[in-house]
Symmetry: D2
Subunit: 321 residues, 4 copies
Amino acid sequence: MAAPVRPLSRVAYLGPQGTFSEEALLSEADLARCELVATQTIGEAISAAASGEVDAAFVPLENAIEGSINATLDQLIFEVDLLIEREVVLEVHIDLLGGAGVDLGEVRRVYSFPAATAQCRRFLAQTFPRAEVIATNSTADAARVIADSPSSDAVALSPPLAAKLYGLETLARAVEDHAGNQTRFVLVGNGARPAPTGHDRTTIVCFQQADRPGSLAEMLNRFAARGVNLTRIESRPTKQGLGDYCFVIEFEGHLADEIVGDCLRELHMITGRMKFLGSYPVPGREPSAARAEIEAERQQADDWLSALRRGLGEAGADNAR
Amino acid sequence: MAAPVRPLSRVAYLGPQGTFSEEALLSEADLARCELVATQTIGEAISAAASGEVDAAFVPLENAIEGSINATLDQLIFEVDLLIEREVVLEVHIDLLGGAGVDLGEVRRVYSFPAATAQCRRFLAQTFPRAEVIATNSTADAARVIADSPSSDAVALSPPLAAKLYGLETLARAVEDHAGNQTRFVLVGNGARPAPTGHDRTTIVCFQQADRPGSLAEMLNRFAARGVNLTRIESRPTKQGLGDYCFVIEFEGHLADEIVGDCLRELHMITGRMKFLGSYPVPGREPSAARAEIEAERQQADDWLSALRRGLGEAGADNAR
Amino acid sequence: MAAPVRPLSRVAYLGPQGTFSEEALLSEADLARCELVATQTIGEAISAAASGEVDAAFVPLENAIEGSINATLDQLIFEVDLLIEREVVLEVHIDLLGGAGVDLGEVRRVYSFPAATAQCRRFLAQTFPRAEVIATNSTADAARVIADSPSSDAVALSPPLAAKLYGLETLARAVEDHAGNQTRFVLVGNGARPAPTGHDRTTIVCFQQADRPGSLAEMLNRFAARGVNLTRIESRPTKQGLGDYCFVIEFEGHLADEIVGDCLRELHMITGRMKFLGSYPVPGREPSAARAEIEAERQQADDWLSALRRGLGEAGADNAR
Amino acid sequence: MAAPVRPLSRVAYLGPQGTFSEEALLSEADLARCELVATQTIGEAISAAASGEVDAAFVPLENAIEGSINATLDQLIFEVDLLIEREVVLEVHIDLLGGAGVDLGEVRRVYSFPAATAQCRRFLAQTFPRAEVIATNSTADAARVIADSPSSDAVALSPPLAAKLYGLETLARAVEDHAGNQTRFVLVGNGARPAPTGHDRTTIVCFQQADRPGSLAEMLNRFAARGVNLTRIESRPTKQGLGDYCFVIEFEGHLADEIVGDCLRELHMITGRMKFLGSYPVPGREPSAARAEIEAERQQADDWLSALRRGLGEAGADNAR
């Protein structure tokens, strides 16, 4: 049902060098061997994949502290027709970097990407209560800015990798407010779709029908009724006006699974409009025992129904099994 | 999907002559031409069909006043493997019959089948407050008893037809307490199953799982979720002890309908044990417009899903329709 | 919340002496001391309670094999306004009784109440395949008929007690087809209502709204949502025409319980029309642990809500508990 | 149930002067008369209200294009105990501003707040395909930066108000990609809570229980079951690790409404942990007719239940209404 995964040769990602995206990308052996194209924004990476300029884009989808990366979601929902082919989860730590000779007591400017700044809010309030916080285009970009014009009163909140890349000193390690932060990255492309592995996740987008109240509840009931485990629900505005949303729904299972097919068919009936964003393996995740049991019950039910229908035209027989 | 309906030659029914069962049976032209075999009880009629002694049995299933005919239901559920092939609804009226020379003021004994007596409870309390009520095996049997030993103080509550058959006088017409009474009869057999007509009803039995509380609610939700109209739900003891029930569920649609198949598959997953009692035409009943709309949505959803699955292995395309 | 249970002095029951109703009645010490009034039908017993002629009626509600006793249900639903005050469950056995000198090989007539005959169907088919089955008004009445005109070819299917009462011989014991048969009796009156004991059952009737499809599913969902255990659901025709039903619903808990009140309030909103048939103790039945937990959660939720509402007008405080 | 609304004297908002927050704030007559305190970040405005330094904070909650303002949501959910007292919706337009003498063909740098930049993505791609996009702390801050160091190759995407405030020229009006953009602002404080007006909205946060799958579906079912209209659902990570979310739920109605109380009580039972973020008027929004009908049915159900419970101890009466 699935084509052999096509070899990738060019992959775009959010640069510059030293971003968390690059770190996650390099953790996958086959991707690390590709020609890597750093882009200035997430949008450019995804657009490059959509236009065929690269084979796929590697972009962040979700952070454990900051939540969804809206730029990624919105482009996948509204602007391109690409599918998620893989996910990679990276532990993320933010280090405090600076040029030689920085005096922490004199710091007046802190550079970083707003999502990273938000993750260090308490650290900043305690350490640099009077410093100005200045936004950059990425966490690695903050290091680049400091490296370009070193100053004794400016520091950057950046990935650990960036210190070496930009020749900066690591002034403090893991200064994020909450331990255990992770970012989930996805590889998106329009190539072959991964076959089911038994440990898969599926991402879809459901558009609410204004004239059918209660429809999100109805949608979620279809998953609950089949024991399909939802792993994430995210609402996004459809940009048609305040109060009009769509829902990104992620759940365990693959498009090719019968139970998933049943769910999708019913969701389509409820919502009228859906977008499939991919079924892809989730390494290391075992499907629940409950799920296997439900799949077996589904198979028995299907066998029973098929036998009953074949029997149309035959003599009745005990069917109470 | 369905074999041509096999010609019936012998049909059993609850006799003796003059019962409502016979009246309903004669209203169907093809059945009226069969060899009709009157049995003493409902059970005997159904058993004759199960053993092949007759081609089918014609028995009452439900009365608008008295409710289910348990003898019919229990035998179909627990003792035989026959399917409902047809339903016939008959307006029923109960007449007061007696021999020549009955004096209403002197009546001391009223004979009838208990279900019929129950339908005339108020009439009896007002007209014969001091008479004894004596049970017979059927409503026609009451007329036969009176005819066998005529007496000026005994009357029968019987179908209008019985007066002529047994040479009795009609003392009062339509003495039932509630107007508009109807009985629903079914033809059960193990011959060919009726093909879908677009105006069908299906009857199933669901056995509750002791260890899954709330399962009836879950079952009914599956119908509601698909807009399938339930026409009747009846609980019956499973004879395993007080508190253990099964549910006879009747609904619009045919086993061959996609939506009905979806419902049955899911019910089977919930209950583990079901018995199919037949899909059969319901003359004169138009399927609801809502139902047609749901069928169309189901088809669209199925097309969407099939296209999506075929696409496994192909390049992504806009699927948000 | 409940008045002291009023002393009963006169209780009506389905006679004549020797019925299962009498046997169950005598098993309750306080009822056994009352003046007991035997009636010819269930209907007369209930009517006597409704008119005040007796203080209460003791009648069968449900049998483990035959199901609901419709005469009892319909009168409680449609004709009187009495409440169930108590339930008594009796193991029922049916004995084969006859006069002195009966020869089992010669039996040609078997007398009994139709519900009892139905419970001995297989026994009769094997033992007296050619005998005529004749209906009587009660199981004890069958014994009375035999005693009135003893014959060597006639027998009765009656309660064990009836042998002694009517001077008959017990020809065979416990001839019912299914072992473990039980009948559930109820005491109905319009006196004081039992206070909650922690082991209670409630019986209600819900009338379906023709214009609100799916309403039974909705009703049952309200119970499921609160973990209220349904013990029985029975549909009855409303006598308005085929296809129009009401539902007798029985569940664990008492009208005075908060969770039960929540359910009833919501059912009333769904159905528009309900009838309360009583909350009464169910001896020996422990409420489930799950139920106690839900009651505790309900109390916490109520406390939280009350505090929040009291806070209207006060300064905000941490309410995330 | 609600205290008189306390007069506000000091209100903090996201500055500097010229932001959309200020424009929305000035549209409310009573707020416009307060002492207004501009803060550098949303977090500082909310913290000032929590500490009592100001009486309330006026902050953006949601934008029709960009979605939730996470900084606002997260601080209200996790860090302070303030309640929403009011909402204000503002049409937002983004203008292109620059110093005197800017030549559009020469623009190489575009300054703005990232959310605003995102809303003008297509405009920028077409008009300034080669320009660098530089992040600022707010949209007004972009204008301030340009005003501080005017340059012929730099422009700002800012609110219309900012042109006058910072002495810049309006080079193009309403350059946002999607017309009809709106931002929803809220006033949060810990003062008096608004009384119900009949046109209210309530915001709560529900924390999912890891060990209760399907709980979001269950929560939403409680609203659907009562016809309570959900206006928005937003998931936020709880910062405990990827895959752990809470849900911000907004719906029509006020904490003081009986139906809303019923919902909240049940949600509390399901989730175990909730946070109330306020009930507040939504000017101009009429409650649906369906809602009024449900409220009336709820009142009738409550009256019925109360009468029934009072009757405990009284004689039974017809309660089937």
